[in-house]
């Protein structure tokens, strides 16, 4: 995997996207999986799943993200499906690490909101 490209995407998402900072661990995991999964579909030409309101929201966030990626990182439009999936998987792992696994936020695992 091209770590420089992955770092570009990661830095951008950290700085820009509120969906990674949900209140609890499960909110963060759901958003990271949902938005980036949909972004991967969009970047690889697969039609997004839009059956539930939550899936439509993932699509709304992912569409904005993909547009920003393409505008800021033109190389992503030339990446093949395998490379896109690899980058998005790497991005997911990095976001889970900073926002969940190694987050210092002491409120992430409260059972109640």
């Amino acid at each position: 995997m091209n770590s420089e490209k992955l770092d570009q995407l990661y830095t951008y998402v950290q700085e820009r996207c509120l969906w990674q900072f949900g209140s609890r661990t499960w909110d963060r995991q759901e958003s990271i999986d949902g938005v980036l999964g949909t972004a991967s579909d969009l970047l690889t030409g697969k039609p997004p799943t839009l059956e539930t309101p939550q899936q439509r929201l993932f699509y709304a966030d992912a569409k904005a993200l993909v547009a920003d990626f393409k505008a800021r990182f033109p190389w992503i439009s030339d990446a093949g499906p395998a490379q896109v999936r690899e980058l998005i998987d790497g991005l997911k792992a990095k976001l889970v690490d900073i926002t969940i696994t190694n987050s210092r936020n002491g409120e992430l695992n409260h059972s109640l909101y």
């Binding site: 950290q14 700085e15 820009r16 509120l18 969906w19 900072f21 209140s23 609890r24 909110d27 309101p53 939550q54 439509r56 929201l57 699509y59 709304a60 966030d61 569409k63 904005a64 690490d97 900073i98 926002t99 190694n102 987050s103 210092r104 936020n105 002491g106 409120e107 909101y113």
Partner: protein, 472 residues
């Protein structure tokens, strides 16, 4: 660079865990300020109380609701008129204030009878008003007055009224934040789902965490109207009590202030399956992104693009005029919590302003994760800052302008540093496209005000010595 122990904090070294200076190569896995924690003895906190978080921030915004404050008169006065949230019905919420005016005898013998009498009196005096929120305060909570039982009795006597009780005395939590929480959860437990709203559009949202400061809600409402989107409830800017009882019928929750109202958005998702979209409503780029996302959710992207193009054509030239003159300005943000992360990148991207220090009164670690991810290296991130720390930080970062509240604002004015009211705005609204131009104008007028340099000149001459002698 890890956490910072300021010189002024040498006798309260625990403060080191609350102040962070970001440097390149670090992130929130390495350091994250302690926050939403009790104020350390010895520090002069700028925080408000938990009752204030419920009443002043959220409940008191409602435009058709009596805010009955069960406590001494000061609890009412100090949470009234210190925020500017107008309404489209003549500012009912700003004109009136209600209190049971508890005195020593009521504390000794109990205040429930006095509360009941006050509630009836308020409804009798305002026969058109049928909604009320009753708040406990520190003394009435301590003596155990049962405000829920009193509210039930009043509702039984008056079948046409509805009353919500908020049991959040000032001491309930470490700051205003607890009051946000209690009101959010209480409302969704007791009131959401008790009114069926009239649905007038295929597209429905709740707009959560916007309190119509300086007219924010009313400005954003123009956008929703143009897009054909029905806002079932604004939580709680320019809102009616019953609007908020119908929140369960929206298709999407759009959240601006995640700190004061993220709780109800989470609960609406959990209980009613309504997804939560977090957006930033301050700043051109952010506002456009928020509109795009809402429109994508509903499949009305063309309408969104048309609105954005129209607003950009109207306001972007003005924004750019200010950007040209504000570029390189050093700004400090000392507000409640979320405005730190809402503003730091928007002023940087849209106005070329550099945010050099940020302090939060009641933010949680989630807020610090967001702001440290967005903010610059070389910037200080402070939880629950005190006045001495502010002085020291000012010396370290030398801001050109500080966005904060009027009390801290008066402090920094004495140092000849201009301040902008970061809570209630100088000349709002600040949200949306037009609003961000207002923010830019206020910042420009503050930073370039010629009085600023004149104020530093002592023109008293010999009179100065006379005054000093008189003072001695």
């Amino acid at each position: 660079m890890p956490m910072v122990l300021l010189e002024c904090d040498k006798d309260i070294p625990e403060r080191e865990r609350h102040i962070y200076l970001k440097v390149d190569g670090e992130d929130t896995r390495d350091f994250l300020p302690i926050s939403n924690a009790p104020t350390i003895p010895g520090t002069l906190s700028e925080r408000g109380c938990s009752f204030c978080g419920a009443k002043l921030v959220i409940g008191g915004v409602l435009k058709d609701t009596i805010q009955m404050i069960h406590g001494p008169i000061g609890c009412a006065y100090d949470t009234w008129h210190t925020k500017r949230y107008p309404t489209d019905n003549g500012h009912f919420n700003l004109k009136y204030v209600w209190s049971t005016d508890m005195k020593e005898s009521h504390i000794v013998f109990g205040g429930e009878k006095r509360l009941e009498k006050s509630m009836h009196e308020a409804f009798d005096e305002m026969p058109d008003i049928k909604r009320m929120i009753v708040y406990t305060t520190c003394p009435t909570a301590l003596i155990g007055d049962d405000i829920r039982a009193v509210a039930k009795r009043v509702m039984a006597d008056r079948p046409d009224v509805d009353i919500f009780t908020c049991e959040c005395p000032g001491f309930a939590g470490v700051s205003q934040s607890k009051g946000h929480h209690v009101l959010n959860i209480g409302w969704v437990n007791e009131k959401v789902g008790t009114v069926e709203p009239e649905i007038t559009s295929k597209y429905t949202i709740n707009f959560i965490g916007d309190y119509n400061i300086g007219g924010d809600t009313q400005l954003l409402q123009k956008y929703w109207d143009k897009l054909g989107i029905q806002v079932i409830a604004h939580f709680t800017g320019n809102a009616n009590y019953d609007d908020l009882r119908g929140m369960h019928r929206a298709q999407l929750n759009v959240v601006n202030c995640a700190r004061s109202a993220g709780y109800i958005a989470n609960e609406l998702k959990k209980r009613y399956g309504i997804p939560r979209l977090d957006i930033d409503s301050w700043g051109f780029n952010y506002m456009a992104e928020g509109i795009r996302k809402v429109c994508t959710f509903f499949g009305i992207e063309e309408k969104g693009e048309a609105l954005i193009a129209e607003e950009y054509a109207k306001w972007k030239p003005q924004l750019d005029w200010y950007k040209e003159r504000l570029k390189g300005t050093k700004m400090a943000i000392w507000t409640g919590g979320p405005r730190l992360w809402h503003w730091t990148k928007s002023v940087e991207d849209d106005l070329g302003v550099q945010v050099v220090a940020m302090s939060s009164k009641f933010g949680h670690q989630e807020d610090f994760e967001k702001v440290i991810a967005r903010g610059q290296s070389g910037t200080y991130y402070i939880d629950d800052g005190n006045e001495l720390e502010f002085f020291e930080i000012i010396g370290l970062v030398k801001p050109d302008v500080i966005f904060t509240g009027p009390r801290v604002g008066e402090l920094v004015k004495k140092l000849h540093i201009p301040y902008i009211n970061g809570h209630a705005y100088h000349n709002g609204p600040y949200m949306g496209f037009e609003g961000f131009v207002n923010l830019a104008r206020d910042m420009y007028n503050a930073v370039h005000n010629p009085l600023l340099s004149l104020a530093a000149i002592d023109i008293r001459g010999g009179a100065a010595a006379t005054s000093q002698e008189a003072a001695e």
